[in-house]
């Protein structure tokens, strides 16, 4: 009976599933983080104000062209195909024998980066011009404005989209079995290949995938709430609000 098989499969192959799930999480966490960083950098570059003339203008134009080509290409082709092209292509072209895990993280990162770039760009554009101008008016340059005013708001605003990418990555790393990364799908295939119980084995994988994505969603929701801070503020009764406890001690002591 199926149910007994499921128990048996879990008991016999537990460590394999766990290891697979671990690799899946490792690839998708690292890929999402690196991808988000790529997205932030690319998004900031693509929203830089265009200098009116000179070599800087040319450099920025060329960079923007390359970056949009990158975004279009990776968003316009399936990751499973990119994996094959990059892994086997690098072996063919440069004679590299890429570590499969490194290749997997690389592919997920630049893929996520392509999507996140557009999400970040949208987030930057959605911050009202007034805050950029106020930052410039107190003497901040583009980078300072981005780091101190714009990006903190963008990061908060794109957190749901980032979480979404993370969940997608957990699921989509399964396609990386084509380059034999020992993630959860690959491990499940091995288990099923030994016991010929395809339904039961993949049912176990299914549950594990769901637990991972569900947990991640909850954690992200919690972080969002935390970042928003308290709904209300407390009025400060006296003028000593910025005093540290040490200062207060010093002041009250004669």
């Amino acid at each position: 009976m199926s149910f007994e098989w499921i128990i048996k499969i879990i008991l016999e192959n537990g460590p394999m599933f766990i290891r697979g799930a671990g690799i899946t999480l490792l690839i998708s966490i690292t890929g999402t983080i690196l991808g988000s960083l790529i997205g932030l950098i690319v998004g900031v570059i693509r929203t830089m104000p265009m200098p009116e003339r000179g070599s800087k203008r040319v450099a920025l134009k060329v960079t923007n062209a390359i970056l949009s080509a990158y975004i279009e290409f990776f968003r316009g082709t399936p990751m499973i195909v990119q994996a094959m092209v990059i892994f086997y292509g690098s072996a063919l072209a440069f004679g590299w024998d890429m570590d499969r895990l490194v290749a997997a993280i690389f592919i997920v990162s630049i893929n996520t980066g392509a999507y996140m770039s557009e999400i970040v760009r949208g987030g930057i554009i959605s911050i009202d011009r007034g805050q950029f101008e106020a930052a410039h008016a107190i003497g901040m340059n583009h980078i300072q404005t981005m780091l101190n005013v714009v990006l903190p708001q963008v990061i908060r605003n794109i957190l749901p989209a980032t979480g979404n990418e993370f969940v997608i990555n957990i699921k989509d790393t399964s396609v990386l079995n084509v380059i034999s990364v020992t993630e959860l799908y690959f491990q499940t295939k091995s288990v099923a290949g030994n016991n010929f119980r395809y339904f039961e084995s993949f049912f176990v994988a299914c549950i594990i995938y769901f637990i991972m994505t569900f947990t991640v969603t909850r954690i992200l929701r919690f972080i969002e709430k935390k970042l928003d801070g308290p709904e209300n503020y407390i009025l400060c009764g006296n003028q000593m609000q910025v005093e540290r406890p040490e200062d207060m001690l010093r002041r009250t002591k004669p």
Partner: protein
Amino acid sequence: MEKVVDIQHLSKSFGNHEVLKDIDFSVNKGEVVCIIGSSGSGKSTLLRCINLLEKPSGGQIIYKGENILDDQHDIYAYRTKLGMVFQQFNLFNNHDVLGNCVVGQMKVLKRSKADAEKVAMRYLKVVGMDQYIHAKPKQLSGGQKQRVAIARALSMEPDVMLFDEPTSALDPEMVGEVLTVMKELAESGLTMLIVTHEMGFAKDVADRVVFMDKGVIAEEGSPEQIFNNPTQERTREFLKRTLSM
């Protein structure tokens, strides 16, 4: 008298729309100048050109004997010397009240956190917002936001404060609290350049009133002169229209 900023032959076009035409204008140290004029006459553009939020098409802006429109001039350092208060407040939404007043001091002027907070508290007290340092912008009323915006600009300790219709976006009952703060600042000797539609305020606090019309300075003089004995027909017309409202 020492000129804080001296503008010579300033012009600005958007495409082929000439918004400012050959403006000659300066602000003296300790002076309060109010700019009045109908909507679209180029008042905001003039203010925005002065702190280079818009790039002037021609002319010079002399600050401390140097033309800051020279290519090699450090416009970021120059901007810290001009405080700007916007009609829409433009507070940084990711910072609380104190953070808004501290971030520029720390990142641009490189002051220590303790120094920056001390300065910020001093000016937040001036605008009466020292009790609200932990409030986020979205938790404040319009009048409170504008007072924080004023404190933020003052915290950079600029040579001159520029105000672009600071009360125009406010509900009527909040206009008073902002004007009161501005009046106190004027009396304390701060150099101020104020675009405003509050004629009573201009009459009351301005040392000099500038009337702009269609991208030129049509007339300037003391408040008495502009409001009681304008020499230009268009000034008279504008005042008649505005004061009858």
